[in-house]
Symmetry: D2
Subunit: 248 residues, 4 copies
């Protein structure tokens, strides 16, 4: 594998959206895949490298400042002088759906930490690199900082008190960053992915639903890529994607 002209990081890479985004961004960049355990990214890293792309995986805990700091140091070492063209926070909020009075404070914290504390830490580590990248003349597109959200980011629901607050908070964080760093040339967006994503894990879900009721990871990745390609004159800051049959 030969390093590309720039680097894209994807935090939260499982077999679904994260892997698809990494593959798409690998068409132009060396990609760095982050997940808590290597098992989550190994197959994707291999696939990208075998098909002529450039990818590495790094184990990372987005809730841990030191871990994320270390990730960016390794990226700098591995890809010296390569600007960071994109940093994508795709970490799913961990949550447990249950009646509020049976919910634990631990679950509530966990939902928050994965959805938004991790995003805060990741953004703080990524932004200095993205700001530098705005000065790079070799980048074809403005550097991007994208966050994957959920419909729970705009609507609270019963039994989702361990999930939805973190997603609301992530949307707020994204807006604050959009407004602070947009004028600096970093494209910060919040992308709501609403629906069941078609992954091995969900293979048996929605049996009997109309064909096409699950969101395709590859199509999500196309949408992220379309946003990344936008010139700074014409940026999308917030969008949603949902299957055609979704109620909302």
């Amino acid at each position: 594998m030969a390093a590309k002209q720039a680097v894209a990081l994807v935090a939260g890479v499982g077999p679904g959206t994260g892997a698809a985004i990494a593959k798409k961004f690998a068409s132009l960049y060396s990609v760095v895949l982050l997940a808590r355990t290597p098992a989550s990214y190994e197959t994707t890293v291999k696939e990208i490298n075998e098909s002529g792309g450039s990818a590495i995986g790094l184990p990372a805990d987005v809730q841990d400042e030191a871990s994320i700091k270390s990730v960016f140091e390794q990226v700098t070492k591995q890809f010296p002088d390569k600007p960071v063209a994109a940093a994508i926070y795709n970490v799913g909020g961990v949550f447990t759906r249950k009646p509020f009075l049976e919910q634990s404070v631990e679950n509530f914290k966990l939902g928050y930490q994965t959805s938004v504390l991790g995003a805060f830490i990741f953004a703080q580590a990524a932004l200095p690199h993205l700001l530098s990248a705005t000065k790079s003349e070799s980048l074809p597109h403005p550097p991007s900082l994208f966050f994957t959200g959920a419909t729970a980011a705009i609507k609270g629901s019963p039994y989702l008190q361990s999930f939805s607050p973190g997603k609301f908070a992530l949307r707020s964080l994204t807006q604050s960053l959009s407004k602070e760093f947009g004028p600096e040339g970093v494209h910060v967006s919040h992308l709501i992915v609403d629906g069941i994503i078609d992954t091995p894990k969900t293979a048996e879900w929605l049996k009997g639903a109309p064909e096409g009721s699950k969101i395709e990871p590859a199509a999500i990745a196309e949408t992220y890529w379309a946003l990344h390609q936008q010139p700074r004159t014409t940026w999308t800051w917030e969008l949603d994607v949902r299957p055609y049959v979704e109620k909302w």
Copy 2:
């Protein structure tokens, strides 16, 4: 010009966004440009046809049911057996910015008629064709019905009482149509374009602002095209585009 496999209509074609969208959709479809006066679309029609595309222009008054009905009859005659792949309502709301007590009922009605009554009439004429198109096996992408909105669609402001209500109403209409026709296979979206669009008319505006402070019509068109390409599993229903320096 040889007709393409399908037809796309763009209502509201001036020298800015509408023309850019028409050119982009002409890469795959025969395009039909609608405007109140032929002067608004003649140059664009000529450019598309001269560069190997297929375009016609038709004068149309979106506030007039008979006029729009006639448009679709002409399209059917001109492009027999071609499915309608996209219908895009890009008519700008006419408005006059002034203190409420100096505003006329006529201006208020005009803002409403151009923003949302026209959209209603256009959608009613287009939807039977778009529904038919969902059955077509030759179409590469799901048929699309897109509406151009504004930030005034989500926030009322002083002195904008003749403009913003129509834009709110258009967003409501789009949501109603999304939810009724999405499950039928028609991709209905509301795209907020927020900022000064870079056109001949605005050439002298924003003097002294940072470079890139105006939205590029071609980049808007790319975003519409990206949405049109989405498979029905993964549709964007609402998004915004703004320049990087925009306050919102």
Copy 3:
């Protein structure tokens, strides 16, 4: 009946919310009840006058500038030198629930005209009086201009294309007026009433639903009154009311 120190107008008085609001505001003001036909307000006018209050009814067509202008002239004649303490637009949007392709342009226009064109005309006639009232030293509360909205003001739904756009537009109009006239001392608010209101017409509705599933007109009126009593330092601009069992 002896005229009170100030006048409150309620447009859209049937046997439900409008009548309840009129009765509540009659505790402090002479009230003027407006409806298309006297049958809508006669009983309420009588009740108020018989219980020691001061009320008149005037037939009015909110969609007709001349009609509303005439109403305010009559109010000035009937209550000379009395400031207008409140003007409340409670006209229900007329609508027909049906599939979009079966919906008529006439119904669409009607929904818009009753929901928002009438509000525009009413507000233009009322605001000069309300602005004058901000200078009155005898008024106990800031003059108020309130609009009754609906959940359809914030969410589009299938089959509601003749209703929801007008309600979205009304919310926009209210925001524009809030921001223009709030700093002038007029309290402009949008109150979403979401649910079945308990009136003679709905007596047979929601059979089998839990007790208390319908909104009480008198309780709505208390909420309008609570807002009217707020000092200008502490105004509510938007709120909702719903029954405890309502899904939203």
Copy 4:
């Protein structure tokens, strides 16, 4: 002091909103004032008791489950057999306004913990009491669980990344609880207080602004009280209060 028929708790009592709410609710209930340090509530407790009301103060750390659990045990002991008529979470989010890259993870956590983790813990302890209270026949109004929000709950802004995410999250939590416990008879509301509140601390702020530019705590308290009085048929779930001159 003689205990009233029921108890109301107010968490987050300083010299502003919390104290005013406690005084207002003391008109009908024994009130329990919670703050981290007794200095925050001592004066208010004394004032209420001296003017014929019934109040106690308890030191409490809303971020600490054990502390809040202990508070409710003490309440039960102090007011045996008295239902809990209202529990109000008015704890201000601690925050530090600064550029994102200078912001610490500690500040971010602190904003979250005070705004929403505390609300979660407080709600979990309060809800069993409020649910019991729905069965009480002596209560004049439905039991209420109110949360004080901020405009930062609906709009992210530059430099507010340590504050706004927690406030978004609190609004989400409130919605989840509204939808789960509303049908059970507990009135759960989110009240946005937007603007500078008139307190000793802000006495020197907004010099030169128009008279009445600060929100009055007593008027906020009236609004909370108006909501508490609403019957379950007609509840407000979300509202805002702002000064008449506020931009929003």
